[in-house]
């Protein structure tokens, strides 16, 4: 509504009041301005000499004191990330007369390889806060330091500063799980709290180092120092100590991690081991690994390109980002889905003639055994990995129920609590297909999902988490890498933990378990050779995933092509069946015909954990084991 039109008289009066008040305001403005001018005259004329002297002798500088980054230990106190003292080359742009010439000089002095010169120069131009030193090069050699010292007078604005540098003693096997720190780049600089990071050149880039950056970093302090005219520090006037970053203890076990890498033995693949009742990730291996230490100091261009273009993708974290078809390892979960939705009972048998047919469809969906397994119940379906049983079960469930129940095991979602960059895999559904391909869902595609061959793709971590949940008889514990931050243990109940999975008849779990036990110990179990000589009850499930296509832009020779088109071998396992202490998922890429290849690896992992590391239930736990499982007892009904 427009302003009410007052009578003219009123308007005139208001205008008069306003003008009088505005004039008064102007008088106040003049007075206040005069006050400011007076103060300035006082400072700049009357007291000028005093302040002039003070600014001449102002040799007080504020220097940041960067905090030391928290250390990272494994569950047994093995040091995984430390800080070692090194010397860095820094440059303050505002103090350099001729940047180009200075850089040229440095390049000659330090004998930098030609490839790195461009990056070196780029770093000198990176945006910094004024007068903040830019890091040009870290970890100088003794000889380089000596040369810089000799030429110091010709290089104003260039400094060699001592700094602690991140070092990873077990870099090769921990690079993916732990991640690494690297130079703060321009993008990160924009989003940083400058005060907290004053004097710090490094920030967590990947993995744990990035996820717990806040806690590991700490808080910068300051010191005010008096310098002489040349900027040499004479004495310290006062300081505010930095708050060091918190130390982090992980759930990883270095021996298990080492074993996982030894087992993968140069092949491509991934092994993830989880302690079911605590959610502790014991091993998170992605092979091939790489040396993360080289990323800390700034990797040279040539080596980086070699890593980038390596067809084995060493920089790719398969354990949390690799999406693989699950093959038959999905079957125990489909069985639980059937029990939960009430479309099947443990004792119901189906007859397997070697194939399955949809009603009104002549197409035959084959079992891997051409002549079929005959009468198959749930237990045997798992032991012999019968396809027909699961075609039929998946068909009875339908994609919607199947998707809902597989989702309850964490498939299609990120399952880790503190896993940086985890992929959510792919759990197909009607909506997903409509969105992705603009097509409706076909019944035949449900059958494929039922035996783990369709669109369904999981990461090794998801597969391990689902196996751990299965071992827990449906009780969810979110997998996590940190066990304590500083002195604070991780809370028992992690946020966003999925709901537990209940069966209408809990004895259904035992049926699935005994079927999986027979995979290793039954006379027709698919991994019976692996199960020879087991000293405890182990449950497992083998799987083979077909490889359909390769990355388009990668070059392979014929021999390699043949090798890379071989099937992936998968195996999931947990042991001991009566009180599971470890759940494992193993994926070996292009393992070829040896589908049992992965099973051997899984057994080696469970053997190591239960027999060598002494985590058999009822035995005394290793005293060094931090036992973050304490207080996370499962409710057994």
């Amino acid at each position: 509504m427009p302003p009410r039109l007052d009578t003219l008289k009123n308007t005139e009066q208001e205008l008069r009041i306003f003008r009088r008040r505005a004039l008064l305001a102007l008088v106040v403005v003049v007075a206040l301005t005069a006050l400011l001018v007076g103060r300035l005259v006082y400072l700049q004329v009357v007291e000028h000499d005093k302040y002039s002297t003070r600014s001449e002798s102002n040799r007080v500088r504020v220097e940041p004191l960067p905090p030391t980054r928290g250390l990272v230990y494994d569950r047994n106190g093995v040091l995984l990330a430390e800080n070692r003292p090194t010397y860095n080359l820094t440059l303050v742009r505002e103090r350099v007369d001729d940047l180009d010439r200075t850089l040229e000089r440095l390049v000659t002095l330090l004998e930098l390889p030609q490839d790195d010169v461009a990056a070196f120069k780029k770093r000198s131009r990176q945006r910094q806060r004024p007068f903040q030193p830019a890091l040009l090069m870290s970890d100088l050699t003794q000889e380089q330091i000596a040369r810089l010292a000799v030429n110091r007078h010709r290089l104003p604005g260039v400094e060699v500063e001592a700094q602690l540098l991140r070092y990873y003693p077990h870099a090769r096997i921990m690079s993916h799980a732990l991640g690494y720190v690297g130079r703060i780049n321009a993008e990160e600089l924009k989003n940083l709290d400058a005060g907290r990071y004053a004097g710090t050149h490094f920030i967590g880039k990947t993995g744990i180092e990035r996820f717990y950056e806040q806690q590991l970093h700490g808080q910068a302090g300051l010191r005010k120092v008096e310098t002489n005219a040349r900027g040499r520090v004479l004495r310290e006037l006062g300081r505010q100590d930095p708050v060091p970053g918190k130390n982090l203890t992980l759930t990883l076990d270095t021996d298990m991690q080492q074993l996982a890498f030894d087992l993968l033995d140069g092949r491509r693949g991934s092994i993830v081991a989880i302690q079911p009742d605590s959610g502790d990730i014991l091993a998170l291996a992605s092979a091939p690994g790489f040396d993360s230490n080289r990323f800390v100091t700034g990797i040279d261009v040539a080596s980086y390109q070699a890593l980038q273009q390596d067809i084995d993708l060493p920089l790719f974290n398969r354990a949390i980002r690799g999406r693989y078809p699950t093959g038959s390892t999905i079957k125990p979960f489909v069985a639980v889905a059937g029990l939960r939705e009430g479309v099947i009972t443990p004792n119901k048998t189906i007859n397997d003639p070697g194939y399955f047919q949809l009603p009104n469809d002549s197409r035959r969906y084959r079992n891997w055994l051409r002549w079929g397994h005959g009468r198959v119940d749930m237990e045997r379906s798992l032991a012999v990995s019968n396809n027909t049983y699961y075609y039929s079960l998946a068909h009875d469930l339908g994609i919607d129920k199947l998707e809902r129940q597989l989702g309850a095991f964490g498939m299609g979602q990120r399952v880790g609590h503190d896993i940086q960059g985890e992929s959510s895999g792919l759990l197909p559904s009607r909506e997903w297909k409509r969105e992705r391909y603009n097509q409706s869902w076909y019944p035949g595609e449900t059958l494929s999902v039922g035996i783990g061959q369709g669109y369904l793709q999981l990461t090794p971590l998801q597969l391990a988490a689902a196996t751990a949940t299965l071992a827990n008889k449906g009780d969810w514990v979110k997998p996590h890498l940190a066990s304590s931050i500083g002195d604070e243990p991780l809370p028992d109940e992690l946020p966003d933990t999925p709901d537990d999975i209940d069966l209408p008849d809990p004895s259904g779990w035992d049926t699935v378990f005994s079927g999986m036990e027979k995979v290793l110990s039954g006379h027709e179990g698919t991994a019976r050779r692996t199960g020879k000589g087991l000293e405890y009850r182990m449950a497992g499930k083998s799987g083979t995933a077909q490889v359909f296509s390769l990355g388009r832009d990668e070059r392979y020779n014929a021999e390699e092509l043949a090798e890379r088109l071989r099937d992936h071998a998968l195996f999931i396992a947990f042991a001991p069946v009566e009180d599971p202490q470890i759940a494992v998922a193993v994926i070996v890429e292009n393992a070829g015909g040896g589908s049992t290849h992965a099973a051997h690896l899984a057994r080696a992992m469970t053997d190591a954990w239960l027999l060598e590391e002494g985590h058999m239930p009822g035995e005394d736990k290793d005293s060094a084991d931090l036992g973050s499982a304490a207080g996370r007892s499962r409710e057994d009904d």
């Binding site: 302003p3 306003f18 003008r19 400011l36 300035l40 400072l43 700049q44 302040y51």
Partner: protein, 386 residues
């Protein structure tokens, strides 16, 4: 009595001022709804500011270019706002005000902590927004709209409502805690009340009340704010803590002397002694490098802008627009006074930027948006068509 002569003169000031001196025909500026004098003065100020920033940032070209680009945007916003008739602002005032209060509450609940104070509301990847900044305009708009409806001079019940309208956002902003902004919101809205003709008796009463409330305020201040006040009274008491800024900035200004040390020659400014030297304390760089002459030139420029703004406001017929215009221009001056006052050590450090010169885009946009409203009010100053 000079007063009577002055008011007589004032009464002769035409209610319908002649077209602003350009020509009889509708000039280009009139059709653009911009006031050429004010625009020229603001541009001169911004230009001078960029030169100082170039030195204050340590010859950081990207910073200066970034700031210049922000000004292009801010001037664009100013020109756009000038196109709307005041009735539009009148209509939208309650909505903007209400939205602002809601967002302040949201910040209180979900704002991410920046610099130890919650000020930002963030829609990730889209916009970071400081609702308190918007209230610098929305609050005086609301109070102007309300008081112009109730008829002037305001009577007690209306004053009470106005007090609530002012108090609500101010308390929310003070909780963040953001002393500088709550101060500016308060003063911009109080100016409206004063310009509306609040009786002298009431003004006296409120002053007494404020004096009585000071001890209460002191009790409720955050620790760091108390520290600031104490430090201001005696900077040398804490030379390494919060007194550092004041000591360094007065040293910078004082050592500049009459003529200054010259562009880029300020040792205080260039050698990192001066904290926040391109934001709130930028005027110390000017004082050090251009001396008293530079400072007086800057203050003169600000003074002329304030005069021109008041002149424009005084020529407006409609009450709402007039009040708002007066508030915009006088708030602008308060910025100047508080900033220069705190840097030169006669006011406590409250975190108020130097208008249109300190680095950072938020305050420039708010200020120029205010000038946009002022120009709109001026361009549509006649109530009745000729």
């Amino acid at each position: 009595m000079p007063w009577t002569t002055l008011s007589r003169l004032l009464n002769r000031y035409p209610v319908r001022p002649p077209d602003s001196g350009m020509s009889r025909r509708k000039s280009l500026w009139q059709s653009l709804h911009l006031d050429p004098w004010l625009l020229a003065l603001l541009l001169a100020l911004v230009g001078a500011g960029l030169l100082v920033l170039y030195s204050a940032s340590g010859k950081h070209t990207d910073m200066v270019v970034g700031q210049a680009l922000r000004f292009v945007v801010a001037f664009g916003i100013m020109a756009a706002l000038a196109q709307f008739p005041p009735a539009t602002f009148y209509r939208w005032a309650p909505l903007a005000y209400g939205l602002g209060v809601v967002m302040l509450i949201a910040v209180e609940l979900v704002g991410d902590i920046g610099m130890g104070a919650q000020r930002w509301l963030e829609i990730p990847g889209v916009v970071r927004f400081q609702p308190s900044e918007m209230m610098k305009l929305a609050t005086p708009l609301m109070v102007s709209a309300y008081l112009s409806r109730t008829g002037l001079p305001p009577r007690l019940p209306h004053l009470f409502v106005a007090a609530v309208l002012i108090g609500l956002p101010v308390v929310l902003i003070a909780m963040q805690p953001d002393l500088g902004t709550s101060l500016l919101v308060t003063s911009s809205a109080l100016i409206v009340v004063l310009l509306a003709g609040l009786s002298w008796r009431l003004i006296g009463f409120f002053l007494l009340l404020a004096g009585a409330a000071l001890p209460l305020l002191w009790i409720n201040l955050q620790n760091y704010q108390r520290q600031r006040v104490l430090t201001f009274l005696n900077p040398e008491s804490d030379p390494l803590g919060s007194g550092w800024n004041i000591i360094q900035s007065t040293t910078a200004i004082g050592s500049g002397g009459l003529q200054g040390k010259g562009w880029f020659e300020g040792t205080q400014s260039q050698l990192e002694f001066l904290p926040e030297r391109h934001t709130d304390f930028i005027v110390a760089v000017l004082g050090e490098e251009f001396g008293l002459i530079g400072m007086i030139a800057l203050l003169a420029l600000y003074f002329v802008i304030v005069c021109r703004g008041l002149w424009l406001a005084a020529g407006v017929q409609d009450t709402f627009g007039r009040l708002m215009a007066g508030s915009v221009i006088l708030t602008f001056f308060i910025y100047v006074f508080v900033n220069v006052g705190m840097v030169s050590g006669i006011l406590p450090v409250v975190g108020v930027p130097l208008p249109l010169i300190s680095y950072g885009g938020t305050s420039s946009v708010t200020l120029l948006a205010g000038f946009g409203i002022l120009m709109s009010v001026h361009a549509h100053r006649r109530l009745l068509p000729r």
